[in-house]
Structure formats: structure tokens, C-alpha cells
């Protein structure tokens, strides 16, 4: 994959500060290309057009009132969707797993997102890119 192009990550979160820090961190070494959006409706629109390698979406946005949009994203991207939860919640994780997506706790420290993203992409493509 790394031969093809740098991995594209879509970050869906309503906390712009966090998202921007994540974007800055991930793009720092030119390893990733990050698109930030603040709600799942916009996320769905972006996900139609751009082929993302990974979608990180905040649990509250994913499972909130716009859940049908989220379901559509999962239908399109399945395993490439990682739901990030602010608080550790088994019920949320189960909901997410049953829909076919994956679950992780939101890293408090944006730098830790790099590890998360790298390990996810490694799982998906067998390379840490």
C-alpha cells in the first residue's frame, strides 16, 4: 500500500481542537493524509468520494441521532471504521461490533493516535505502511 500512496484517514469528531491536533500529528512526517469533519452526515458525503484507508469516528457522533448515516459508512467501509469512545463502555463496544465496525478508547494524547492508526492499518493490510 505504501507504494501506491500515503494512507488516507478520515477523522470524524466534534472536538475541533482534538481533531486538529490529531491531523497535525499524523501528517507531521508526511506519513498520512488526514481529512477532518465534524459530523457523520459530512463524513458520509466525504466517504462516498474519497477512498479512505481508515475512518476514525467519535462514538457519540456514530451512535447518536445520525446513526443511519453511520450505518451507511459501515456498510461502505466495514472493518475500516474505528469507533472511538471517550469513555470505556462495553455496551458501546458491543453495539459497534454487531454493526461490523471496530472499537477503541479515545487516546487522550493525540500522539497516541499514531500508534492506534499504525496498528489498525497493519491489521488491515499486513503492513505498518
Amino acid at each position: 500500500m505504501s507504494d501506491r500512496r500515503i494512507p488516507r484517514i478520515l477523522v470524524v469528531d466534534s472536538e475541533p481542537k482534538w481533531s486538529q491536533a490529531v491531523k497535525a500529528t499524523l501528517e507531521e512526517h508526511g506519513k498520512y493524509y488526514v481529512v477532518n469533519v465534524g459530523d457523520s452526515e459530512t463524513a458520509l458525503k466525504s466517504s462516498y468520494g474519497d477512498g479512505f484507508d481508515l475512518i476514525l469516528i467519535n462514538a457519540t457522533l456514530a451512535l447518536g441521532e445520525n446513526m443511519p448515516k453511520f450505518e451507511e459508512i459501515v456498510r461502505l467501509y466495514a472493518d475500516k471504521v474505528l469507533v472511538i469512545s471517550d469513555v470505556r463502555s462495553i455496551s458501546t463496544a458491543i453495539k459497534v461490533f454487531k454493526m461490523g465496525a471496530d472499537y477503541a478508547e479515545k487516546p487522550f494524547e493525540p500522539r497516541r493516535v499514531i500508534d492506534l492508526v499504525a496498528s489498525r492499518l497493519q491489521q488491515a493490510y499486513g503492513t505498518a505502511s
Binding site: I90, A93, I94, K98, D102, Y103
Partner: protein, 285 residues
């Protein structure tokens, strides 16, 4: 017993703790489900091999003293291997995100629910009943799909074609397309109520001299061995014990189906143990 409707969806409940086993049974309506229980991984595995269940309800931890035991989740491998369309629900008093992921994503469980009432919303008993009901419907859909696709019959007569069977039953040169369709129809009609949705071990005998075809299979719907015989006349099929059937094995005529000029009869062999069946099928290989 007699008043209960036949062919209710079957549920296998697996829990090492007797009180929970009982509770999980009692929460389900016995007029709607045929319920079996198992107290351990091994017992559950044995039961799964012998009968097809619509739903498996398994406690995650099947040895209570072992904190990391996830044998309930490991049973899913057995379920997936058997391909009966069985839907598995893992219940647990010790939920964890890792175990839930393993069950739901890794091994395709239908659901993962907490036993502890304070953690589940809606309450466990309501959630449990609802999920079993939905899982049953899902399993039934899977079955219908398998039947439509005709998976099991072709695997049961593996190595043989409908043509080959028809040529045994009818004089050379007389097998028409209609007869072929008849053979197929009789086999399907007799086999499906007995079983087989999935790839299934079985044995077919063709007898040129008697002009009969016999299929021995393990009826996963009934948990018993079953024999199907088809031929051109009822007389050639009735009251004649197949050579391989031990004197001691009692067979019971189940149902019959005629599609002129073909007759098919199915029997269940009431006292053949699963091990005997496996040995017999292997012996012939």
C-alpha cells in the same frame, strides 16, 4: 409432551452453573422452543455434533473457577464448522470488550449479553428472550436459504449423480428427464425434514438387483440416524432390513412419499448411537 407442537425451534443452553442453566431455560417458553442443556464445553460439543440447533446460548466462562476461561466463545468454532445456520448468543456475568470482540467479530456470534441486571438495559430477561426469538428467526432464514440452494442433498449423494441413481432404479435406456426430476424430488422431500442443511456425512448404497437406492444419514433435526430408501415399488422397500443394519437396531418407518412411478420411504433408526453411525459410514469408505 404429546401436546407440544412438533418441530419447535431447538435451543441449546450451555452453562456450568446449575442455577443459571435452570434460569436460562425457565425464561424461555417451552411451548415455543425445544430446549436442551449442557453443563460443559465437551457436553455441548457432543450435542452440537448430533443435532442441529437454531440457537446456542452459551455462558462465556464454562469453568467458573478459571477466570480466563472463554470456552463458551470457543464453542462458536464448532457452530461455524457445522454450518447448520445456528445463531449463537454469548451470555456472561464477566463481560469484557476483548471477549465481546472475539465473539462478535472474530467468531460471528449473533449477540453478546450481560447477565448482570444492573448493567444491561433493557433488563437481562427481556433482552434475552427477545434476542433468542430474533436469533431463531435468523436461523430459520439461513435454513430456508440452504434448502433453496439444495446444498445438503447434493453433498449427501456426493460422488453420485441423480442420473446414476435413476439408472439403478430403471431399466437401461428408459431414464427420461421426467424420471430424473422425480428422483430428485423424492430425495429432497424425504431428506429435508430429516435434516440436512449442511455438508453432511452419509452413505449411499445402490442395489442393481433390487433396483433400490438407500441413503443413510444422521438426521441432525432429530438427533438420530435415518435411512431413506427409494425404489419403483413399495413392496421392494417395505419390511426388508438392509444387510448392514444390525439385528438389534430398531428402525421406525417415518413417512413416505410417492411420485409415480417412484416410492420413497424414510426410517429413523431409533437406537443407533452416533458413534455407531460414524463407524459404519467410515467402515464403508
Amino acid at each position: 409432551m404429546e401436546t407440544l407442537p412438533q418441530d419447535r425451534p431447538r435451543v441449546l443452553i450451555v452453562d456450568d452453573q446449575p442455577n443459571w442453566r435452570e434460569a436460562l431455560c425457565e425464561l424461555l417458553d417451552p411451548t415455543k422452543y425445544e430446549i436442551e442443556t449442557a453443563a460443559s464445553y465437551d457436553e455441548a460439543k457432543r450435542k452440537l455434533r448430533q443435532r442441529a440447533f437454531h440457537v446456542l446460548v452459551a455462558d462465556q466462562r464454562l469453568v467458573d473457577a478459571q477466570v480466563n476461561n472463554i470456552q463458551g466463545i470457543l464453542l462458536l468454532d464448532e457452530v461455524n464448522k457445522l454450518r447448520d445456520g445456528t445463531q449463537a448468543i454469548i451470555v456472561t456475568g464477566y463481560p469484557s470488550i476483548e471477549a465481546a470482540k472475539d465473539a462478535l467479530k472474530g467468531r460471528a456470534a449473533y449477540d453478546y449479553i450481560f447477565k448482570s441486571p444492573e448493567e444491561s438495559e433493557p433488563p437481562f430477561n427481556i433482552q434475552y428472550r427477545e434476542r433468542v426469538k430474533e436469533a431463531t428467526e435468523e436461523a430459520e432464514l439461513e435454513r430456508q436459504k440452504a434448502i433453496t440452494l439444495g446444498f445438503s442433498v447434493s453433498s449427501l449423494i456426493a460422488g453420485l449423480t441423480y442420473e446414476r441413481i435413476a439408472e439403478t432404479l430403471f431399466p437401461a435406456g428408459t431414464v427420461s428427464q421426467d424420471l430424473l426430476e422425480g428422483v430428485k424430488r423424492v430425495l429432497h422431500r424425504l431428506l429435508y425434514p430429516l435434516q440436512p442443511l449442511a455438508r453432511q456425512m452419509g452413505r449411499v448404497w445402490l442395489s442393481e438387483s433390487d433396483q433400490t437406492c438407500e441413503v443413510l444419514c444422521w438426521s441432525r433435526n432429530r438427533g438420530k440416524a435415518a435411512l431413506i430408501r427409494i425404489g419403483r415399488e413399495r413392496l421392494s422397500l417395505d419390511d426388508r432390513k438392509p444387510e448392514w443394519l444390525k439385528e438389534s437396531w430398531r428402525s421406525i418407518k417415518d413417512e413416505q412419499f410417492a411420485s409415480v412411478p417412484l416410492v420413497g420411504i424414510s426410517y429413523t433408526i431409533d437406537d443407533m448411537m452416533f458413534e455407531d453411525f460414524v463407524a459404519l459410514v467410515k467402515e464403508e469408505d
